[in-house]
């Protein structure tokens, strides 16, 4: 009896949470526009007339990209703090957080995506130089 009551409460919480979330999705506009998401969903065979599901998929993708970008940012900051230089240089570099292929490949490795970037193309004399040490 108690178990059933506990179960019922949990269910009602889930119900209300989900319905609230679905209602809030209608207000929240994901960064990826609905038409674009519909285009890709149609390409993959996903059919649904409900716009909330489309928003859900868009939000899921946005969350994924935000996580990857956040991990790449942490990699970038870790690299900058590892390079011990003048205090002035460090402050200058803090403003210039650049998404680079190396940080991205390190961040994506945790998600099972192996991205290998071509190290250099030997077409001009300055190839192969570490990009972070170059003056920008």
């Amino acid at each position: 009896m108690n178990q059933n009551q506990g179960g019922n409460d949990a269910r009602h919480d889930d119900d209300s949470a989900l319905t609230d979330f679905l209602a809030s999705l209608v207000d929240y506009t994901p960064t990826i526009p609905d038409e674009l998401v519909e285009h890709y969903l149609g390409k993959s065979g996903f059919q649904c007339p409900d716009v909330r599901l489309i928003r859900l998929v868009a939000v899921a993708t946005q969350k994924f990209v935000a996580e990857v970008a956040g991990d790449a940012l942490q990699q970038c900051k870790a690299r900058q703090s590892a390079v011990v230089k003048d205090k002035r240089d460090k402050q200058q570099k803090d403003k210039r957080l650049i998404l680079s292929m190396e940080d991205l490949s390190k961040a994506l490795r945790e998600y099972g995506v192996n991205v290998k970037h071509q190290e250099y193309f030997a077409d001009n004399p300055s190839t192969g130089i570490d990009p972070t040490s170059r003056d920008e």
Partner: protein, 305 residues
């Protein structure tokens, strides 16, 4: 070193979008959205190759979510996906990275039936073809049955009870937290509306006169495609004038085809071909020609000598 571009400029440039093809168009829009997300994460600039790679990965992620949800729906005998398909698809994709409660099999059961019923009711109100949505077929029941078989310990607590909600899965909760915590980032630019021309022209309808043909069949093609065209002389004469072969063997044919038909006339001139060098400079062409003069089987091509 690859080009470094400021993320702000990616969202601002407007000229190039209209000139792209359809696949590049969607990719460019995705790039703008991803640039906005990166900007909100804290980046100021990005290497262009890194941005394009991330865009490509986001595209693949979106498509794999959709494919997985569509597959689940099809396995359940449904053509349209619902939220449970999407949630399960999301669990599948997050399993690579790992999340709390991944080993908890109870979450793979169907959601609580009252919630499901209320959700499906809301769907049927909004959608016209709600009938397909409200029937849940064998695959889903199989999951339920498998859970009953695999977990005898849960029988005491009523494993098949509708209290175990699949919609309380951790990835979904993470999404909820993300939505509530993050500020909304509207898309930077107004999307140019592209009207697809294929939708505007409906398939040819069958005219009413042919009553023996049912109306639901597609119509006949345009009559000009299967009737004989009247104007042929101009094109044939051009072809004959343009090629040497026409000059060579077509002189006789040309007389006959002036009538304008596509068909060959019944009585035709003998066609001459000669192998080897000929001294016949009348035609003006040297080279080998095939001789049919000795072939009696081709007598039908010959006039009576």
């Amino acid at each position: 070193m690859s080009k470094v571009i400021f993320l702000q400029t990616v969202t601002m440039e407007t000229e190039t979008l209209e000139t792209l093809g359809p696949s590049e168009f969607s990719f460019a829009i995705m790039k703008v959205a991803v640039a906005q997300i990166c900007q909100s994460a804290g980046f100021r600039a990005a290497q262009s190759s890194a941005l394009e790679t991330l865009t490509r990965i986001a595209t693949i992620y979106l498509q794999s979510l959709a494919k997985s949800a569509a597959t689940r729906a099809a396995a359940g005998g449904r053509t349209q996906s619902n939220i449970f398909d999407v949630v399960h698809a999301f669990r599948d994709l997050s399993s690579n990275h790992g999340f709390a409660g991944a080993s908890d099999h109870s979450v793979s059961v169907l959601a609580s039936t009252p919630l499901m019923a209320s959700y499906l009711q809301s769907l049927t109100k909004s959608a016209s073809s709600g009938r397909k949505q409200s029937v849940i077929f064998d695959y889903d029941y199989e999951c339920l049955h498998a859970l009953k078989v695999l977990s005898p310990s849960r029988r005491s607590t009523g494993a098949a009870n509708p209290n175990l909600c699949s919609l309380a899965s951790t990835p979904l909760i993470d999404i909820v937290r993300f939505v509530y915590s993050h500020r909304e980032i509207p898309f930077a630019r107004p999307l140019p509306r592209r009207s697809s021309p294929s939708l505007n022209s409906p398939p040819p309808c069958n005219p009413k006169q042919s009553s023996h043909i049912p109306a639901w069949l597609p119509g006949f093609p345009d009559p000009s495609t299967y009737t004989q065209p009247k104007i042929q002389t101009i094109s044939e004469s051009n072809w004959n004038a343009g090629t040497e072969a026409g000059k060579y063997s077509g002189k006789e044919k040309k007389k006959k085809s002036k009538a304008g038909n596509m068909e060959l006339p019944e009585k035709r001139e003998k066609v001459r071909f000669k192998l080897g060098e000929t001294k016949d400079r009348r035609k003006g062409i040297g080279g080998k020609r095939v001789s049919w003069r000795n072939h009696h089987q081709n007598s039908k091509f010959e006039k009576q000598r």
